[in-house]
């Protein structure tokens, strides 16, 4: 009896496995067949609708499309039309006409209805589509979704609002920044990208939020980062400058980034002076950003401090300081020679590397042939030191160039031949 039961159990296991396997086997085949048919049809529809829509848009007969494009929701034709219009929208072609078409065909209304669905993924898909359709009328329905517990929904909503743009969408995001960032609802990078999508119109709202004082340092850093990527605006200067003394280094660093733009110099000529103290900040990436900002402002005022930073303990800072000195041009040659003849090997390496990275050696070589003896001598000195430090390629190339063109008449040809 027991043996029989065992055999029945084994046979049952085999039967289940075989059934499942055969089932999956045929399911794969049926699925392939159905898919092929569906996408063949979709491709055909997309192709014909695209031609029809483009022709109507180009000839300015958009209203004639309303009837031709009407299709039952969720049908293949409905999906194909949506794909075609979203594709054209993404290409930036006829955005206002396409938005009007979407509205007339009832797409935003369809997706707005789906916002009430229980399935989070279906909701997220509709939110995303409303964003891509730039459905301004859907903004009041989208905003409350930012306050929900579902992070994915909040994240997609932020993106959708960014795509739609406009004051109410921006205000909704900016108002909720502390929650969105502080609670980790939306990733910082995603939020930065969205806020940048609003463009210059975001500046007043962001500055207002920054000044409200209830921002978590991480949120403040994100706002400053976004401001630093938006077109320069004198209204940014004061709130950013106030944060140069912020206790959080990330905030200080981003504030420096906001300030380090040449356009700000006209409204605040004292900017280099306000930035310079941060060259001595205890946190390396703040020093790094201070160098970058000063370099952007092309201020030679702090050349002495920059010269000291080529000996910084962090190589990122050393290299940036060297690069900043090189960007200042010929006025930095003395500082370069001083550092290159000093004892700090790291500083020497950084300078040599940046001279090659920034192609500054071409400028030095240019000086060799020029008639300014002082500049030529300094340049030759730098190239010679570089050669002895193992950065020999610029001088070798220069010499090879001279060999290739002996009649060039360069007055320093003989001086380098001994190297």
């Amino acid at each position: 009896m027991q043996d029989k039961i065992i055999i029945i159990v084994i046979l049952a296991i085999i039967a289940i496995l075989v059934t499942l396997t055969v089932g999956l086997f045929f399911a794969s085949i049926i699925r392939r067949g159905l898919h092929d048919r569906k996408y063949r049809e979709l491709d055909r529809l997309r192709s014909s609708y695209r031609a029809m829509v483009l022709e109507a848009l180009e000839s300015g007969r958009v209203s004639s499309l309303w009837f031709d494009l009407s299709a039952p929701p969720a049908s293949s034709a409905w999906q194909a039309i949506e794909d075609v219009l979203l594709g054209l929208m993404a290409d930036g072609k006829y955005p206002s006409d396409i938005t009007a078409l979407f509205l007339a065909l009832g797409y935003p209304a369809f997706h707005e209805k789906r916002l009430a669905e229980r399935n989070a993924q279906a909701r997220a898909q509709s939110i995303n589509k409303l964003g891509k359709m730039k459905s301004g009328g859907s903004v009041p329905l989208l905003i409350p979704l930012l306050d929900g517990e579902n992070r994915e929904i909040a994240s997609v909503t932020v993106r959708a609002l960014g795509n739609i743009g406009g004051g109410p969408a921006l205000a909704a995001i900016v108002d909720r920044l502390p929650r969105l960032i502080g609670n980790g609802v939306v990733a910082g990078k995603a939020l930065e990208t969205t806020l940048l999508a609003f463009g210059a119109e975001a500046v007043p709202a962001l500055i207002g939020r920054l000044s409200s004082g209830d921002l978590h340092p991480h949120a403040a850093a994100i706002v400053l980062e976004v401001l630093s990527r938006l077109p320069a605006d004198e209204r940014m200067i004061s709130p950013a400058a106030e944060r140069l003394g912020h206790e959080n280094p990330e905030v200080r660093s981003k504030a420096l980034k906001v300030l380090g733009r040449p356009d700000h110099l006209s409204s605040c000529p004292d900017l280099p002076g306000r930035i310079a103290p941060l060259l001595r900040d205890p946190v390396w990436y703040v020093r790094l950003q201070a160098i970058r900002s000063l370099s952007m402002l092309k201020s030679a005022q702090s050349i002495g401090d920059l010269g000291k930073l080529v000996s910084d303990e962090k190589w990122h800072v050393r290299n940036e300081a060297a690069r900043a000195l090189l960007l200042l041009g010929d006025c930095s040659l003395d500082f370069l020679i001083e550092a290159l003849t000093g004892r700090d090997q790291y500083a020497k390496d950084s300078i040599c590397e940046e001279i090659e990275n920034t192609n500054f050696h071409a400028r030095l070589i240019g000086h060799l042939a020029a008639h300014d003896d002082s500049l030529g001598d300094k340049s030759l000195r730098i190239l010679e030191i570089m050669y002895t430090l193992g950065f020999s390629i610029p001088l070798e190339e220069y010499r090879n160039g001279l060999r290739g063109a002996p009649q060039s008449g360069d007055k320093r040809e003989g001086q380098t031949s001994g190297l």
Binding site: F25, N128, K129, R159, E353
Partner: protein, 482 residues
């Protein structure tokens, strides 16, 4: 005495049956999880931030690190493929690890590179660098020539030299799909928990047609049955093995052929371990260890849609070497991080995942191989009933057929990279055949690796790359793969 021996053999047979049963239950759970996760992922793709990531100035730069050693037949293809990646900010760093063939010259000539002076900061200790090569016309390509130190050493060298906060390791015999980098990067940008590593899918390159720009022109299946078996294996391994583990936040393996890492975290953890034959897996294990020790929140994730195509061995000898090497690497990686085994400090990784790998991945081939021999012999000498033999065959073979078919079904549900009807039929067919011989041979190779490790052999065996798809001939020397 004989009766004791018979009882012991019988007991072992029952143990083997039980073991197979447990393994199958675990695989079923993973398969179920993978199905759920993949369905969800497919829906999420429809509203993913891919285009925003592509257009955003905030997308972090990535360095694509391609370590090469005697890869002159395939190196240009992989560099060109990496350079054509559709990603906003990236650099390609090729590290020539002391090739003795014409690899370096070929790259220098092709891209008209010239030697440049550059400081090499040895944040991670590596073999000496002999030179850097660069050309302003291809500003995001840097070639480093260094003394031979192995793949891990070459990757560490690339980490030292690259300037991007993230790096993606790619094998020299591989071709990245254009949007692969973008897709593998997306979770890093969407997650509010820091993602320290992310891996994509690896597929078999053999059989594909590439155009002159090294883009995939046509996906086809190779004729060689050995390659077809591997294609089925890769589909199954990536689509339900890794997806399943990822859903439990317990991923222990990312393929070094195509994985993205946060550079500073890898450097903090000490970089890739030189001497480990499976440096990619060891790195992932160590990252878990490092992050959990530091008490920092983190994620290591697997994304099922970015694809990297790589050459697979097309002879039994090469495949055997590869599989022995993988198994050896697995054992080394666990052994080198044995502190984690069963240690509650390392959470589910220490308590569940590593013990699973020891019991079912490392010891699996031993029990499976000995089990096959023992069960068949026991039946032959009359120790076992036909019922048990049937049960064993069901658990060991028919269940494998079911899993292979499920893998192909998952592929059909999701990405359908093999577009023709004949592809589907061949894959389904090979999914069945795979369990009658191929799987057992694989078990034997892994069993061999176990014995070799046990006997003290810890060095790796090389696998040749032939440079199929537009390149001719075989290489003079040995090269790395996966």
């Amino acid at each position: 005495m004989i009766s004791i021996l018979s009882a012991a053999i019988l007991g072992f047979n029952y143990f083997v049956g039980f073991y197979f049963g447990v393994v199958n239950v675990i695989y079923s759970l993973l398969l179920t999880l993978a199905l759920l996760v993949i369905f969800r992922h497919l829906k999420r793709i429809k509203y993913s931030a891919l285009s925003e990531v592509h257009d955003s100035t905030q997308t972090p730069p990535v360095a694509v690190l391609i370590p090469v050693h005697n890869e002159e037949e395939v190196v240009l293809r992989s560099i060109r493929s990496a350079l054509q990646t559709d990603y906003p900010f990236f650099e390609v760093v090729v590290i020539n690890d002391g090739s003795s063939d014409g690899t370096l010259k070929r790259v220098i000539d092709e891209f008209r590179l010239r030697r440049i002076d550059r400081i090499y900061r040895r944040t991670l200790v590596t073999k000496p660098v002999r030179g850097f090569y660069y050309n302003l016309e291809t500003p995001n390509l840097l070639v480093i020539d260094k003394e031979k130190g192995g793949k891990a050493d070459a990757l560490n060298c690339g980490i030292n030299a690259s300037r991007s906060p993230y790096f993606c390791s790619v094998d020299a015999d591989s071709v990245l799909e254009k949007d692969a980098l973008l897709r593998v990067m997306t979770p890093l940008l969407e997650s509010s928990v820091p993602v320290v590593a992310s891996g994509g899918v690896v597929r078999v390159l053999n059989g594909l047609l590439l155009n002159e720009e090294n883009e995939i022109e046509e996906i086809d299946l190779p004729q060689n049955p050995l390659l077809l078996f591997q294609i089925v294996e890769y589909i199954r391994g990536f689509l339900f093995g890794r997806v399943g583990w990822d859903s439990l936040n317990a991923l222990l393996i990312l393929s070094g052929t195509f994985s993205l890492f946060h550079k500073a975290t890898v450097a903090d953890a000490g970089g890739f371990r030189v001497g480990n034959v499976s440096e990619d897996m060891e790195m992932v294990v160590r990252l878990h260890r490092h992050m959990r020790k530091a008490g920092k929140p983190y994620r290591i994730c697997f994304v099922s849609d970015p694809i990297c195509w790589t050459e697979a061995p097309d002879t039994f000898a090469m495949l055997a070497r590869q599989r022995r090497r993988w198994h050896l690497g697995l054992m080394q990686s666990i052994a080198e991080n044995r502190e984690m085994i069963g240690n509650p400090r390392y959470g589910r990784i220490g308590l569940i995942v590593i013990p699973y790998y020891i019991l079912f991945e490392i010891l699996g081939p031993v029990i499976e191989f000995v089990g096959y021999v023992c069960v068949l012999l026991s039946y032959a000498v009359g120790l076992l009933s036909v019922d048990f033999l049937m049960l064993f065959i069901t658990l060991a073979i028919f269940y494998g057929v079911f899993l292979s078919t499920a893998g192909i079904f998952l592929e059909e549900l999701t990405f359908r990279r093999y577009p023709r009807w004949r592809h589907l039929f061949r894959l389904l067919l090979y999914g069945v055949f795979e369990n009658f011989g191929y799987r057992q041979i694989n078990t034997f190779w892994r069993f061999q690796a176990f014995l070799q490790y046990w006997l003290g052999r810890h060095s790796w065996e090389y696998v040749e790359n032939k440079g199929t798809n537009g390149t001719n001939g075989t290489k003079g020397g040995a090269a790395w793969t996966m």
